[in-house]
Symmetry: C2
Subunit: 238 residues, 2 copies
């Protein structure tokens, strides 16, 4: 039987799927999964996603050599090592380190997907690598968009559509959300940055002064590492 | 402040909205809301949507002059007056009658929207009428797609996108799902029937032998009645 390629448009819809029948790709393009892919590519030993700043700072007390990443309103929280910008996840800063990353939407999506066969992390910067890997699995694939506060957002859906674009010739059976995501990607692909400027989220990001981050998050195929969930830690898929 | 125009892509996402701040349009294009619009246009006194065949048949026992509509797998259920085809809702059959209509997805969406300022029913057959009415309300508008088993479907999203198309010049603030729905509508609008043939749902409908129903459900502006919820009954908006 042909494997399925489906898109879960928000974490609120994850309970509609028998997640244990799928390999799940968690998507939170702005900026968590981009930072995770970049950090793992640059030699981070592991990245631990948590949802609350308090959970993150709890790792400080464990006395180990964690780097802690947390921001509120676009500013690094006092006492933390850096924020959520992918530019913080350079080789110099992260090689050999374990990073605790605060990300509400992404952590929520990971948590609800935890019974999946495998959970990997996708972003435009590892797009082709992850698509090639998915083609080799012969498994049902569920692309989980982390969205915004449990609702749909365009940027994660566009990435899902980009994955569908690369996989659709490979014999997967697609569902309606996958068709929609792929069609939206067709509209946006020539200039996703311009396309996403239509969204209200874009105004919010601009107000945070992170336009350079956004531009980075839309770059395609900069990296070849695939982060995979191993208990609560994201590590490099071997 | 400008009113909002937002799209709730599935009933599962309704709890994310403060529904009481919106006029809600419930959408279940194939076929419940099309049949409801057509029935109210043709003089039905009221239409009562229920989710289970058993609830529907309970009305028989109330001894009043109800018409009961229920089908399973595309066939009228034994002992019922008709199924869910809009062609059953002609003047000859429905004028002056109250109809109890079994519709799982649509009833679910109506139930979860019940605290809205007002709930009206939309379908392609009353598209322009409902858009003109919405423009006059000066209220936040939430377009609720009934979807399929709590998940996203393309046909309801396309209708939402058609409403956004007519309203977007009228000063509403739109959200990401509204942008996405409108963009999908742009792709599909020249031939929505062909567009929807891409979907798996289309195969399911074809298997039910209701292609003529589908063609009817995609016709635009056949009617001018707006069904509105009055307690548990849908009646003609005066």
């Amino acid at each position: 039987m042909s494997p399925k390629l489906e898109v879960c448009l928000t974490p609120a819809l994850i309970p509609l799927y028998n997640v244990e029948e799928y390999v799940v790709v968690v998507i939170d393009v702005f900026r968590a999964t981009t930072s995770i892919c970049y950090g793992i590519e640059n030699g981070a030993e592991a990245i631990i996603p948590v949802s609350q700043v308090e959970e993150c700072s709890a790792y400080r007390e464990k006395g180990l050599d964690y780097l802690l990443a947390a921001e509120r309103n676009g500013e690094v929280v006092d006492g933390f090592d850096f924020g959520n910008s992918p530019f913080s996840y350079t080789k110099e800063k992260v090689a050999g380190k374990t990073i605790v990353l605060t990300t509400t939407n992404g952590t929520h999506a990971l948590h609800l997907s935890r019974s999946a066969k495998k959970i990997v992390i996708g972003a435009f910067i590892n797009l082709t690598t992850i698509c090639n890997w998915l083609k080799q699995q012969n498994e049902n694939v569920l692309l989980v968009c982390s969205g915004w506060k449990n609702n749909f957002n365009l940027e994660d859906t566009l990435f899902a559509g980009a994955v569908v674009e690369q996989l659709k010739g490979s014999g997967f059976v697609v569902d309606d959300p996958a068709i929609a995501a792929n069609d939206l990607y067709q509209i946006a692909k020539d200039d996703p940055d311009a396309y996403l400027k239509k969204t209200s989220h874009s105004e919010r990001l601009k107000a945070l002064g992170i336009e350079a981050d956004i531009e980075f998050c839309l770059k395609v195929d900069l990296t070849t590492a695939i982060p995979v969930l191993d208990r609560e830690r994201l590590v490099k898929l071997q």
